[in-house]
């Protein structure tokens, strides 16, 4: 198969970017407020037992994986394009690095969730 017929990987990364964008637009601000502000200030409570129980069942695992993985793919995809906005030419290497970090974070989250 020639290069011209090779399928682009763009739809995959664009879909992950879009899914992450939608998820972050729907729940991102409140999730950041809850875990990053309300929780440390004591406005809400999350014990180790509650967190462990949430991540012990499959829907909880999927929710955690979706948030971490899609936020990473969304954020890193945009960071990759922002580098271009600053006038730095982005080649295939940098693109692979940004998406690779998101992929590695997804694998790490998946492995940790399997242990829980």
């Amino acid at each position: 198969m020639g290069d011209a017929l090779k399928r682009s990987n763009k739809p995959i990364f664009w879909s992950l970017f879009g899914a992450g964008g939608m998820l972050s637009a729907l729940i991102g601000p409140m999730l950041i407020f809850v875990t990053g502000i309300a929780l440390p200030l004591g406005l809400v409570h999350l014990s180790y037992e509650q967190a462990a129980a949430f991540s012990a069942h499959v829907p909880g695992k999927l929710a955690i994986l979706a948030v971490i993985s899609l936020f990473l793919f969304h954020g890193l995809h945009r960071m990759y394009h922002s580098v271009h906005d600053f006038g730095i030419h982005v080649g295939a290497g940098l693109k692979a690095l940004f998406h690779g970090v998101a992929f590695a974070g997804t694998l790490a989250a998946g492995a940790l969730l399997l242990m829980l």
Partner: protein, 120 residues
């Protein structure tokens, strides 16, 4: 010989519209960093009770709280613009643009309220 290249340095500071664009785009750094905060929490959770509680205590310092406050505001601004352009980013549907924007904002408000309710 080199062709003329329009200078690009600082282009985004020249116009308030570009500045707002870059401010919104800054949220991608925060959303990425936030995903790593959660990943660290998941790692600590897998390690057990004491490490997880140390991770929670670590969140309570002024610097992480300032980071999360900035992240929440920028991601909120990004969410607002995300729903504002949704009539253009979605496949064409026979619904007025304003209804699509309103539906997105309403879904976000309902899910956010439900999440807060579940945590209280």
């Amino acid at each position: 010989m080199r062709a003329y290249q329009r200078p690009m340095a600082g282009w985004w500071r020249r116009n308030p519209y570009y500045l707002r664009y870059m401010l919104r785009e800054a949220s991608c750094v925060f959303i990425t960093a936030y995903a790593f905060v959660l990943l660290a929490g998941l790692w600590r959770l897998a390690q057990g009770k004491a490490p997880f509680e140390r991770w929670l205590e670590g969140l309570a310092h002024p610097l992480p709280i300032a980071f999360h406050a900035a992240a929440a505001l920028l991601v909120l601004y990004h969410a607002w613009t995300w729903f504002k352009v949704m009539p253009k980013t979605l496949p064409r549907v026979p619904v007025p643009d304003a209804a699509i924007v309103a539906a997105g904002l309403a879904a976000s408000a309902v899910l956010s309220a439900a999440m807060l309710w579940a945590m209280l």
